[in-house]
């Protein structure tokens, strides 16, 4: 979409005005500074998704739109988790985060901060596997998506 002030609120406003649900939304400028790229995750029947697609197309700030789920694609989400890491927990948390290919990016005597990237369900799994009482804070980026192979969203 156009990298203009207000473009994001047009999309968000459309979803709230028409009663559609936004599960996650990420947006950032692209290599072309006049454009931003937004990845939005929503749910609905085929009819609702068709309406959402058409209504988004209608927004004048939306330049091009692609339903990722219509073809092979990759979804990734980044998560930062701060956990209480003391005594025996330090080893256990390091081990689990290695299994999930997470990286510990900040360490104090009491805490670890783990960075992890993957499909959303993998991040969910990590959060389920560690002791819930140890979780201090979770930050998730929302999903970014890209088509597989030659499939691309470009002007």
């Amino acid at each position: 979409m156009e990298n203009e002030a207000g473009a994001l609120s047009r999309v968000a406003g459309l979803f709230s005005a028409r009663g559609y649900n936004i599960e996650s939304l990420t947006v950032a400028p692209t290599e072309d500074p006049s454009l931003s790229r937004m990845t939005l995750v929503t749910r609905g029947t085929d009819e609702i998704i068709e309406q959402i697609t058409k209504q988004l197309h209608k927004l004048i700030d939306v330049v091009k739109l692609m339903d990722m789920t219509e073809g092979p694609h990759i979804e990734r989400e980044m998560m930062l988790v701060k956990v209480r890491a003391e005594g025996d927990d330090r080893h256990e948390l390091k081990r689990i985060s290695d299994i999930f290919r997470g990286r510990i990016i900040d360490v104090t005597e009491e805490t670890y901060t783990v960075e992890m990237t993957g499909a959303s369900d993998k991040l969910d799994a990590f959060l389920q596997v560690i002791d819930q009482g140890l979780i201090v804070e979770v930050v998730r980026s929302g999903v970014s998506g890209i088509g597989r192979g030659d499939r691309s969203l470009k002007l």
Partner: protein, 564 residues
Amino acid sequence: MELTGADIFVHALQDEGVEHLFGYPGGAVLHIYDALYAQDKVQHILVRHEQAATHAADGYARSTGKPGVVIVTSGPGATNAVTGIATAFMDSIPMVVFTGQVPTHLIGNDAFQEADNIGITRPCVKHNFLVKDVRDLAETIKKAFYVATTGRPGPVVVDIPKDITAQKTEYRYPRKVTMRSYNPVHVGHTGQIKRAVRMMQQAQRPILYTGGGAIIDNAAGSLTELARLLNFPVTNTLMGLGAYPATDPQFVGMLGMHGTYEANMAMHHCDVLIAVGARFDDRVTGNIEKFCPHAKIIHIDIDPASISKNVKVDIPIVGGVDNVLKAMLNVLRSSKAETDAGALQAWWQQIGEWRAKDCLNYDHDSDTIKPQAVVEALYRVTKGDAFVTSDVGQHQMWAAQFYKFDKPRRWINSGGLGTMGFGLPAAMGVQFAHPDATVACITGEGSIQMCIQELSTCLQYHLPIKVVNLNNGVLGMVRQWQEFFYQKRYAMSYMESLPDFVKLAESYGHVGMQITRPADVEGALVEAMQLKDRLVFMDFLTDRDENVYPMIPAGGGQNEMILI
């Protein structure tokens, strides 16, 4: 030469061909008003409330097809305009609204008369722009007109901070603009058009259901040609009245909640439904589960998002209505196949039986004035050739049912948003666009009071509008629903302390009349029409208990009408 933003604004309107600018001054737009003062190409019309500026521009646009143009100041000026902007948005009316804004450095500061105009209008505009640099002003104005008038038209707001109107830059008005993210489709898909024509030729019980899109796209001619060539019945939505001549035998009347029995029954029983520039609004479909149960549906619309939004269609055709209908005519003329004359004859016979119910009949011998009789008399006295605006409520439905519009752009009403207060200011816009035409505003004592202050504007500009006030002393449509569905608990649907409308009209410098007897209705209208250069306010005291029939109750199907 460098011009100030205010001068650029005025030059841009002139270069855009704008002749009428409806507005109201205020602090944030004073530079612009100063620039307007120095020229006489663009006529500024001073209304009495910003809502009226938008409705007047809207009436102007509906009656001409040209965009209506509005200027209001920041804060309350802009918020007052919102109702009119939303009204135009719901009915896809081209309009460009310029709102003043506090100076750039004060935006977000809760400054005096500051409102987030972009945020407030976002859900009810086709698009809006905030001008942050005077060098963008001319191009933004061009884009605003381009977006407002192309594709599915709609209102566009341009918010201009006060400092931008004082800064200077070179003026150049672009002849054309392109926007990479905005490319409306005008030409329908040839394959889909051929499929649709084949389906129409095979139809046993077809009907053309046409809406405001046919009027907006100036498709009345091609629609009429197509309908006559095929011998198909035509029904119009409230917004589509006039797209097909109402006095033509193939016209079965308006459809929907207060449509005719024959139109709604034909919809319910049809096997092929051709929707032309209509959007399957809930007031048309009734209960969507029961809508056109036997029909294959062809839908022509310029807005892809209107297709299969409420009702799943079989053959969607995205494109300008007029283009698509003309393409259909070409395919039909070169086709060897023919329509099924026998089936159509049986279908017309069936429609004739429904018509014989005479669903719009009412008591013609009543001692009190029947509102329907007033509309019928207006139709006779104006020879069916007036521009008729209306407000919202029972009187609007009677106007739609009883004034037979043979031409497009003659029936001016707020269909989608249903805005009371629309009628009088809209009539002003129509009268500015057509100074010599008869413009009647059919209204009620509730609606007219929502923009009554515009009687003052009418005096200032000598607008000889004929106000037909169907005064039954109650908020009729609300009361009708309370009578039917709330066991006659008439909560707040009465009006006490109504003004003396005759004196009121006179105090505004107009002619006032009160009509109380059925026998005087036609004479009063004749007398009013003879006062060619005066606004005449006719206060008809009508039957309080009259209701709008027929009616599809909420949740009902089109075959479940309440008749009289």
